[in-house]
Symmetry: D2
Subunit: 379 residues, 4 copies
């Protein structure tokens, strides 16, 4: 099958996540990057495009120009990846969706709720698909965890402990003048009002909901900015109440030395538990009450279809972050191909608008709660 | 040096913690158990005493009788261990303290705040010592963690994550008629108003304070009783605010399948972090920001005096729960010997009245907060 | 830069390693698969090629035909991946090398020493490059380990413990009629005389040499075939003596239940040690004598250039088997580009003919030693 | 029940293992230390005895004197612990056994085979019991492993991997003049001809046999002394052939930086495997072929009688080295009480003469093999 023609907005020099999206798009050979508005100036965009082997006439100075030109080409892009800072998600997403080009957008949905709502209307009206890269849901053992919960292997869920500690903002990296990632991610104008909760807390929230199949109804949040001068939260402690009575805790932090990317989920039900850690993603602990703990391994003994379907290598041949991310892309490819064939795309495992809006509500609720001294706030 | 003559109140058949106290008292040869009121009836007390090799005339039917008789003997006990259910701590403790007999008491201090205050007065007035077995503070690597924090190895503390999950009350074990532990620990009349927060949450709270040297000022607690019919909390989610600005989370649970005795502490400061887990107590992770993680081992490379002082074996020869518990007893022995010699006992590392009252305040505040829908409550 | 035009011999339906090579070639966008002789019959080759999106006229019925045709095309392949069973490495490799097409060949070099020597002559005479995918040397932390040893961080090496246990041949999978992998890998005619030692023992041997920079001089091997009827070894216990006096042990097994792909290397020198496990490849333990153990993480604190150069994601975003394999491909791409530009390719980190011959000598010596009741045999 | 009156030979100041024996004897309250010949001079023996609270008239200047005097007392010792260097095991053991006093002796049996044979005769003729503290067999999960193998949970055993790396002799600690342990353990006159193989290799060998129930028939050993000037081996690489066809490897080392006391056993059979590590002794991995790995925990889910019988605390309350050691002592106490009551003592789980002789044969065979360039030698 011919690869899907892909464009990219953002992801030029100094970007982190753009390169990740490109590899993820490439791993299974489902996409071919052919166009881009990679940087905020035409010169740098052309330079970045050349480095990536794009044809000069498909390196655009801005996304509007790109959307218009590509939509007009017979061989124009079928889908676009949006990997800009958060405040620059909505604009390009709407521009491409309106022209029938599928959008794969980095999370969170937008920087503000207003942008989110504006974008939501366009997404709902569009024929093209909108996929949000809550990439951690692409990990095979997370897919398996979700399926096990759904199958009742844990009984009714009672307790959900989710955390996402990092340490890279332990010091004021945004003030060194050399760390563009730190700069925009701690700038409310570009990142949105959430700091750690927007950048990583939304991943934690999304993962908890994805695996349990439950929505958070209310939360009580205590946000902190530990580093002097920091304009957004760099640590968040949040109590969660889920529909149906489950309770949880969510911790996100960017000031916890020794934690690189410590997303970790633990779910406990009436009859068993599950534990998973992103840094060791090929393992899933299953702890049926009263029985020995079992270490399930990706594509190994105890792995089920939900995990095997998105595995490339046998057990013991570890897959990682990029493969998990690629599973979102490859799922998106299947959905795009179905949509283009006039079939109903299977979006059941793909994060999209609803996940995005939930994430925005989570950020807004956390901030509102924290401003009210950790009062309970509905999402 | 001759062993200290020790008595015990509680700890007969069906008890769990009594046997632990006896081993802990024995490991370093500092105590000799010579008397007891081990059960609530004279017959069973005598039976239990005989099994332990006590002389028949020193097996008492109740603690009052025992206190009076032992105080009158020239070879009477010098110290007594109180290992009864919580509501039976204050009475015996006061009876012995008033007679000049040192008390080593299981935690929490009492079942109610009223009992605690009454006991506190007696303790303050007594010449005899009062030691509370917050035994987890006896672990060598916990002592080391405390000393490293005090030495500034982590900088100012920002974040404290402490948790204590278990799974043994996942089902209604208190209703089977065969589990005495479950019965009294879920009975407010015997255990106090706190369930998981009193039984294990106090350990978590105590450990966090012991290691950081900080007190919790306010907390917001969301307590649950997941098992139908249970009369006390079996899961607690608590936000913590420490003096000086540090923030934390505390999770205690007895309904988390797969967790046997999962006390775990993580402390993060401006320049580094520490992580410790009770089930693997010979290890302490030290994570100075920007440097590789270091795995410090008890009595091994990187261990310092605070840990070595309470180690019996070289690195790689694991010590466990009983040795940690014994460190409290052996510390108590040194303090008792000093007190009896008219010297000032070193109580700096021994939990006592203050730790006990803090624990009671913690329980009360958690319950009050939870009743107010997780409002902030001062300890 | 335009991708290198790549062909593939082998790797059709039912193959395992062919798919791995294709992903590895794709991850960094350095290769474009455009031709193949994917199966042993023209029909199945065409079918497999179509599934991969190859043009029909570039799906060949056999490698000779393919080599001739591709060499004649102006847009013919620049490099070819050989992913056939071992006895089918030498033929295609020679056919392409003789036509100036670079070869990336799966390990071991060949099935027999005779084939190896014949191939070696052609490789030595060829202008085209020959790369052998001892893929585990592509892991970032293995590159780091090698550099640390070379830098003297461990002092003179004394002890090397390397092992590679698996469990997939615990039962006679080759007799079920449904497991083609098991069939050819236990068939001396296709796999060569070595079973576990050829399939995985050579990886272990190669890794030990790669990291330490030392060659094995002599070995004493005790090979077993535990599964009744098995025609090759499925477990090997080998003593190693390295040049310069280091000693080691090598264990390979395919009958060790619970081990999926447990390649593990431990190296100890006069002043420190290193430990690495393939199933958790983002970690490297560094144990300087007398100091706390340090857990070095890929692209994290303590990572050095040798690892960072072949990393795509920051610390805590795990890379896995496919990325490690891709590092061989991407290194090969750089070497091929240099060679085609008339420059000297940097082959210092790329396994090639020498590694391949060493592997063949290792297999032969192990078999010879085992036949002599574990007598010492020089490689 | 009254404690057994215990004496000790060796174990004065600067000793390591004497203190361990004393704690092990004390933990379960089964022994009371009342006499000793603790050091090699009367003065130091008296000084060490006083520090331990022994009566002055029961601190002896040498073991002969002690044996004679204690045998003559009506309240004389019933058993004696021998914790001297290896060359001083046989003399005291024979002196006490001949007088009907039970002997608990540290391993290995003796320093030389001649001593071993002389001692064996006395043991065989004695009415008193002889227990050898191969203490690692006292660990609960080792007892469980043995029972699981015996019950056929693994099927016929095929492969046994056992190792015991340490690092404390990485440098020439015996030459510093301050390390008495290093001095005698590297002195053939006191330790015997084996270095690492005698000190720790015998533990590894014993553990492999204890768990599998199999004897080693032949071995091929490659011993090294890496540290210049060292008079005994400090690293040993050994191939094992067990009765019935199982094969194994044994590695002992005292020059492997980062390894504190890394005894580790892995056993693989036709249908499953077991893995255990001494430094984390409360865990036992059970890996039935084709099923998820199971982590069995001491006194937790999956623990069986063999482990529970020698556990003091519930799952998650870790027991360690001292408790494992105490299980030997407490087993010895039961056997001694049975013997004194004229009953048949249960020695099925207690190492004694046979284990000791096997250990001596292992040492001798390893040395002989290594001197013959790793030729196969029968035990």
């Amino acid at each position: 099958m011919a690869p899907i023609r892909l464009g990219m907005v953002g992801g030029g020099k100094d970007a982190f996540i753009g390169g990740v999206h490109r590899i993820a798009a490439r791993i299974d050979g489902q996409f071919d990057l052919v166009a881009g508005a990679l940087s905020s100036t035409p010169e740098r965009s052309a330079e970045s495009g050349a480095a990536l082997g794009l044809a000069p006439d498909r390196c655009y100075g801005n996304y509007e120009e790109m959307a218009e030109a590509e939509a007009a080409r017979p061989d124009g892009i079928q889908a676009v990846s949006i990997v800009t800072p958060n405040h620059m998600h909505a604009g390009p997403a709407m521009a491409f969706l309106k022209r029938g080009i599928h959008v794969i957008c980095d999370k969170p949905l937008t920087a503000t709720m207003e942008q989110a709502e504006e974008l939501a209307e366009v997404i709902r009206a569009a024929k093209a698909l909108f996929i949000l890269t809550h990439n951690y849901t692409g990990y095979p053992m997370i897919r398996q965890a979700r399926e096990m919960v759904a199958a009742g292997d844990l009984g009714t869920i009672r307790v959900v402990q989710v955390e996402y500690p990092q340490d890279w903002l332990t010091v004021a990296a945004e003030e060194t003048g050399t760390n563009k990632q730190a700069e925009w991610r701690t700038d409310p104008a570009r990142s949105g009002a959430g700091g750690s909760i927007g950048d990583i807390g939304t991943h934690a929230h999304n993962l908890a909901c994805f695996v349990t199949g439950l929505q958070v109804e209310t939360l009580a949040a205590d946000l902190q900015s530990f580093v002097p001068g920091r304009r957004v939260d760099d640590n968040a402690h949040i109590l969660l109440r889920f529909e149906g009575g489950a309770r949880g805790m969510l911790w996100s932090s960017q000031v916890a030395p020794g934690n690189e990317n410590g997303l970790r989920l633990r779910v406990y039900g009436e009859t068993g538990g599950l534990e998973w850690a992103q840094e060791d993603p090929n393992y899933l602990w299953f702890t049926p009450f009263g029985q020995p703990k079992r270490l399930l391994t990706r594509a190994g003994a105890g792995a089920i279809g939900a995990a095997n379907d998105v595995s490339r290598t046998p057990g013991g041949h570890p897959e990682g972050y990029l493969e998990g991310f690629a599973n979102i892309y490859t799922g998106a490819a299947a959905a795009i191909r179905a949509a283009e064939a006039g079939e109903e795309p299977d979006l059941s495992l793909l994060p999209g608008l609803e996940a995005g809006l939930n994430g925005m509500r989570f950020i807004a609720a956390a901030i509102r709660s924290s401003q009210s001294d950790a009062a309970w706030v509905a999402l």
